[in-house]
Amino acid sequence: MPRIRVDVDGATYEDDVEPRVLLVHYLRDRLGKVGTPVGCDTSNCGACTVLMDGVSVKSCSVLAVQADGRDVTTVEGLGLNGTEHPMQRAFHEEHALQCGYCTPGMIMASIDLLRENADPSEEEIRDGLEGNLCRCTGYQNIVRAVRRAAGEMREPSEREVAP
C-alpha cells in the first residue's frame, strides 16, 4: 500500500492508503474531517470542494495518493484561530444556507473565486460557482454573501483587524 504524507488544515498526516481511496473519503473516514460531504457520484455537485495547493478541486475526483506531498484546506481549516473566516461570517449573516449540505463546498469555491477576482460582479459569482449545486436556497443569498465577503476582504472591517 502506498504511503502518503499530506498537510491538511495545518497538520501533517502520514498514512498507508489503498490507491482506490478518494481524497474525500480519506478526509472523512481516516482523518474524521466530516465537514466535507459527498453529494454525488459524478463530480457534478461540488459539495466536496476543498483547496489543494491553494486551488479548488472536487475531492471526490482526486485520489488520496494524488494528494501526497500536497497541502489541503477543508472548510474545517478556516477560522482555526478562533475567528470565523469572512466568507463563513457572510454566509451566516446573509442567510446563505438552508439545509447546509452544499455550504462547505460553496464556501471553499467562493474563497477560490475571490483569490482570482477580488471584486466579482453578480454574474462573475454565478459563473464562478457554476460547479456547486444548491437544492435549497435558490442561490440569491449565496451571491449576496459572496459579494459581502468580497467587500469585507478588500476593506477589512474593524471587527476583523481588532486583536
Binding site: P2, E18, P19, R20, V21, L22, H25, D41, T42, S43, N44, G46, T49, V55, S56, V57, K58, C60, S61, V62, L63, V65, Q66, A109, D112, L113, R126, D127, G128, E130, G131, N132
Partner: protein, 284 residues
Amino acid sequence: MIPATFDYVRPGTVDEAVTALADAGEDAKILAGGQSLMPLLRLRLAYPDSLIDLDRVDPLREIRDEGDTLMIGAMATHHQVVRDPLVREFAPLIARATETVADPAVRHRGTFGGSLAHADPAGDLPAVALALDAVFLVRSVRGEREIPAADFFVDWMTSAMEPDELLLSVRIPKLGAGWGAHYEKFHRTAQAWAIVGVACAVRRENGTVGEARIALTNMGSTPVRASEVERAVAGGAVSEAAFRSAAEHAADGAEPPADLHGSSEYRRHLATVLTARALAAAAS
C-alpha cells in the same frame, strides 16, 4: 461509490510512463486530470487493473511556440489553457471553447489531452481540434507517430490510439492576422455539456470570406466537419443572409444522437441555427 481495486503507478517522466503503460498490458488506463475517468471508476463503468498517473509528469504541461504551430502538452489543464497568452493570441478558438468546459474546479484538474483522448463527441475540444486541423503526437515503446485530427476520432469514446500509446502533445496550426474564431455552445443549464456546439474560424479577405473551418460537437459518434458549409461560404459575402443560407447544410451527412436533451431532428435544426451564429460571430 468506491472504485474497484487497481494498481497505481506514478511515473515521473514520459519514458517511465510509456514503459509502465506497456508493462501493465491491455487493462491499464492513463489517469490525467481524472475529471472523466474518476466518475467512471466510481460508478464502476470502468475497472482497469492499473492506473498510470501523469499528474507528476511536468514536461507534459508545457505550451510552446513552434513557429507556424503551437504545441500544447497533453497535461496542460483547462485552467492553464484559458489563461495562456500564446493560446489566446494564436488559437483563440481553443481559449473560447475551453472557457465553456465544466466549472472552475473541474478546469483546475481536467486536461487538454485528457479531453481529446477521451474522444467524447459531446466534449467541446474534439470539434475544436478537428476544425483547426490539429495534429496529435503519440508515443509508445514502439516509437512515436503523428495522427491528424481527421483520423484521430474513430468512434464514440474511441480514438485512433492503441492501448499502449500515450498522447504527448497536440500541434495546432496558428491562425494569424485576418482570422476570427468563435465557439457557439448550446446547453440548458450552467456547467452542462453541449446539446450541440459549433467550432468555427473564418478568414476574411477583402470583405469576403477567404476560408472557413467549421466542426460540430455532439452531432454524431465523433466530432463532425461541416465541409458543405465551408465550401458554401468560401469566396462569398460576409453577410448574415449568406451565412444563414450556407448553414442550412450544417447537418448534411450527420447522424446526431437522440437523448433526453433532444431528438436527432432537434439537433439538426440546432446545428443550422448555431452554425449561422458562429459564422457571424467569427467573421465580425
